[in-house]
Symmetry: C2
Subunit: 197 residues, 2 copies
């Protein structure tokens, strides 16, 4: 009990801690394989407290996905901000993916996994996943526009990124996948710029 708790800030911290713990377990083992008991044990809170923070497992899952969405966004933006050239800023998406794929414990896109596990059972989960994918597409469209590209090529870049994630997850040998997708995106972007010029 190293938490003073009982302050509103303490509550927020506990909630965040639970979400982070659940995210890790869910991503490692799959959402359906991780029961509330496991979350309780790993997060060190009681079931009662768990259910006072989240009315149901569904709500916890949604909170986890929202956190993950936020972290995804931050990772993308961090890599984007390393580049100044608009073309490079588009391609930074694949640098981010490359780095991610190489991390130990990479198990594919958490949103796609969640959709596969729960998409047909929970409308809330399906909505959050869809929302995230729309966000990602909008993000890429922004970068591509700044590079002078069309929304059509932005969609193609999105398809490459999604395909890279799926393929990296399933084959388990993601070494060349992100760089291959990056090269494809560069070719498509350059062709689009040449065509609309």
């Amino acid at each position: 009990m190293n938490q003073q708790s009982s302050t509103p800030a303490g509550e927020d911290t506990v909630r965040e801690q639970v979400v982070r713990t659940a995210d890790r377990l869910y991503y490692e083992q799959g959402i359906l394989s991780v029961g509330m008991d496991s979350v309780r044990d790993a997060a060190g809170v009681s079931l009662k407290r768990l259910y006072s923070l989240f009315a149901s497992k569904d709500e916890l899952v949604v909170a986890v996905l929202r956190l993950r969405q936020q972290m995804l966004r931050q990772g993308l933006e961090a890599h984007r901000d390393l580049a100044t050239d608009p073309r490079e800023r588009v391609l930074s998406v694949f640098d981010f993916l490359d780095r991610w794929f190489g991390e130990p414990g990479f198990r594919g896109c958490g949103f796609i996994n969640a959709f596969g596990e729960l998409g047909s059972r929970s409308d809330d989960v399906a909505s959050v996943v869809r929302e995230t994918k729309v966000d990602f597409r909008t993000y890429v469209e922004g970068l591509v526009r700044e590079a002078g590209g069309s929304d059509a090529v932005a969609l193609q870049v999105v398809l490459l990124a999604e395909g890279a994630q799926t393929t990296a997850a399933i084959t388990g040998t993601p070494s060349l996948i992100a760089s291959s997708a990056r090269a494809a995106a560069a070719t498509l972007l350059d062709a689009d710029l040449a065509a609309t010029a």
Copy 2:
């Protein structure tokens, strides 16, 4: 009882009928949401018979995925054989996808869905999915080679196809996705041919 049964051929037919029925239910509702009872009801066989044909649900799932792999292959080849130009034969992959995405009840790639649901629980299922994806990649590499393209561009075509499936499944609005991926593949293939020429 319109089956004379007791002949080996009859057994095969029953088995096939069960696999087909399970495939439909699994694809529509997700594998985890369909119990053996539902398969029994829909296929019109007893549980005993079900378990005499398949030792476990896992075995049934693997059989379903193998059937689906076969049907996928046949669909791809049917579209491929409509074209004679090697470049068009590569792009026929996306004509197949376009047609598939437009079908009522399209719910994404059954293998990716199965992997999301069971990949972390059943090694057999994970293996079959991986195997299918490797097969697909090999198939595309064959087509691309005949068009004079490299394996590198073949991988890029695969990434586009995978990304199209994922995106079409999650957004639920697959109208422009396959044609967009097709155009991207054409651009990449042409660029590769020009580069290696």
